[in-house]
Subunit: 392 residues, 2 copies
């Protein structure tokens, strides 16, 4: 007997950045953050979680390769989910006993003891890992959601976000669609450090994103060690989290509620810049933006300046890739400005604009939009033996 | 009759950065700064100032080209110097009258009324302007020093630094050799915003500098407008000047007095990084470091890490050029690390080390050292007609 459930989960891109942990083990952040969930049509992780009394060990296949589940973070997530399942099973057992006492003939369905079964998990992204797009958020969100579905947990998305957070901080924001806030919380246990919805996709469905995948030969500083270095060495960082982020958090939420793109865009750009500023103020300094990233920034600044208003907003995570947000009504303005210099790369989906000088440094574009949170799907990645279909 | 005087003045490179004006007209800074004066053997401006009753207008020839003196900043400098000269002349006149009363026969020498004569000024750099090295500091320091010498002003270097400051803020620091502090001052008049010596060249003569001239096709944001943008838009900037710089100023002075290269170097690198961080936190963001600058930073960080101590310290002004400070005792370590990737460009003065992979992006190196302040010289740039020798 194999029990299984499959879920897809989205990528999210922060507009108010998460950078800095106050607790490394629990992934508790030094500040609250805000993100936009991107459409799963273009970027998503599909995960099938299965449990069976016949499985001999927990196993994970990621994009066709067997990967270790034996990291403290993944173990923390699995332990939390099994604990929640165990509670369900115990409650069911108790209910069954009570029922049995009351009516010896009634056949009450027993909840199978999945918490004691080993898990086989198969996970695939619909985008190349080589693109360097942060896939750990979608990955952990899909993992947690698939197991929660398999276990039939009645747990809310915010509750699940706290489990996903232990896997990868920003994964907690991928538990929701639309606009999402990760409230940093105050408790040492992390019980109040969770994602909440700021506004659903339906509030502002015309928000779009163009991702410029920037080629880079250098190895970026991993975000976990980068964050710690910034927390420990940047003299500007503490000021940012104490005095800049709290106000920006409120302003950005309001800009989203007001669908005020100019305000939302300006705050997004300023916060991306300030995140990279505190990286540069770290010692030794951390750089994620390269000369191509800077050209994209200048191109967007020029577009906004030419238009006399903010119609596009760039943001950069811990790498050189640019995400440019815009509203659908300004699509031709924004895409033609980007196409002018990057029209020669893949990903334009047949959109045609004038081309000028070709700039190197971008390997492809991904045109996408705001999207929904995790979705249950009937598409399964495992075969009847509980092994990945592709390798079956 | 032509009166003339010639002076050479040095370039200085800040180790604690000047970025931000609290008064644009008087060039009053938002924070104190510290610099090292570089040797005039490699980088200097030579200026001949001349005055004559026959000259019809104030004129300036800069590197062989007639340039306007008609900028508010230059006019402010000339007005101050003429005012000081006028006081001398009036005192001399008064003394002469007194003498004449006391002894009608005594011929007291009259101070000629140079303050009423027009000036011809000829100025030349011994380094290519194309190198993109800030030459305005040396230029204004030489201009002010040459006219002060011509006018035979008894004014101290700190007093003259206040006049140079009005021409170009950082020029005030080129009035001294060795290690120089520009004390920001508090007065609205700027009377207490002046350069002072931290330590002379003789205190630490073994300090050396390798300048890597970085090629760049883009036009940098001019520093004056860049500073104003940072002051107005960076939320981290005010914290820097209120809470970081005052302590760093004291620490860096102490590191210089202690000849503690590791401490001096670390503070220098951190302050360069923080200056570029507040530029990036400006809106729109200002970038001066390019990918080549970052490679130099990483190369220096790796060298220090391999050595287990700080033996080299990078600093970058408002452009991509790198200045790498080191102590003479570590010259082979530092130069061989730089030569490894940039050995193919000009400027190594016959120094030979191993070469590895050639990196592009640097057009030449300038190997120099700490140097003295302005020097009077008998070398004159004007001919007997009061015109530039080269064009005479």
């Amino acid at each position: 007997m194999i029990y299984q459930a499959s879920v897809t989960a989205p990528v999210n891109i922060a507009t108010l950045k998460y950078w800095g942990k106050r607790d490394k083990n629990l992934n508790l952040p030094t500040n609250s953050s805000i993100s936009v969930t991107l459409s799963q049509d273009d970027l998503r992780t599909l995960t099938t979680a299965s449990a069976s009394p016949d499985f001999e060990q927990d196993q994970l296949w990621l994009n066709g390769k067997l990967e270790s589940l034996d990291t403290p973070r993944t173990q923390a997530c699995l332990a939390d989910l099994r604990q929640l399942r165990k509670q369900l099973e115990e409650e069911s057992e108790k209910a069954q006993k009570n029922d049995a006492k009351a009516n010896a003939d009634a056949a009450v369905e027993v909840v199978p003891p999945l918490s004691r079964y080993k898990l086989h998990i198969v996970s695939e992204n619909n985008f190349p890992t080589a693109a360097g797009l942060a896939s750990s958020a979608a990955g952990f969100a899909a993992l947690i959601s698939a197991i929660a579905k398999l276990y039939q947990l009645p747990t809310s998305s915010s509750e699940l976000s706290k489990i996903a957070r232990k896997g990868s901080g920003s994964a907690c924001r991928s538990l929701f669609g639309g606009f999402v806030a990760w409230e940093m919380g105050q408790l040492a246990t992390g019980e109040d450090s969770q994602a909440v919805e700021v506004a659903p996709l339906s509030h502002w469905p015309s928000l779009k994103a163009a991702i410029l995948v920037v080629s880079d030969d250098k190895k970026d500083t991993p975000s976990t060690s980068g964050m710690q270095l910034t927390v420990q060495t940047s003299s500007l960082f503490q000021y940012r989290i104490d005095n800049v982020v709290p106000q920006r958090f409120q302003e950005m939420k309001q800009a989203i509620l007001d669908k005020d793109f100019a305000k939302f865009g300006r705050l997004t750009m300023q916060d991306s810049n300030q995140f990279h500023a505190v990286c540069l103020d770290s010692y030794p300094p951390i750089f994620y933006l390269n000369d191509t990233s800077k050209r994209v920034i200048k191109l967007v600044e020029k577009l906004n300046s030419d238009e006399g208003e903010i119609v596009a907003a760039y943001t950069f995570d811990a790498g050189p890739n640019a995400v440019v947000y815009y509203d659908e009504k300004d699509e031709d303005k924004v895409l033609s400005a980007l196409h002018r210099h990057f029209g020669h790369v893949d990903g334009w989906n047949g959109k045609k604009y004038e081309q000028e000088e070709q700039w190197s440094g971008v390997s492809r574009v991904i045109l996408t939009s705001i999207g929904v949170g995790p979705q249950v799907t009937s598409e399964s990645l495992i075969n009847e033996k509980g092994l990945p279909k592709s390798s079956g």
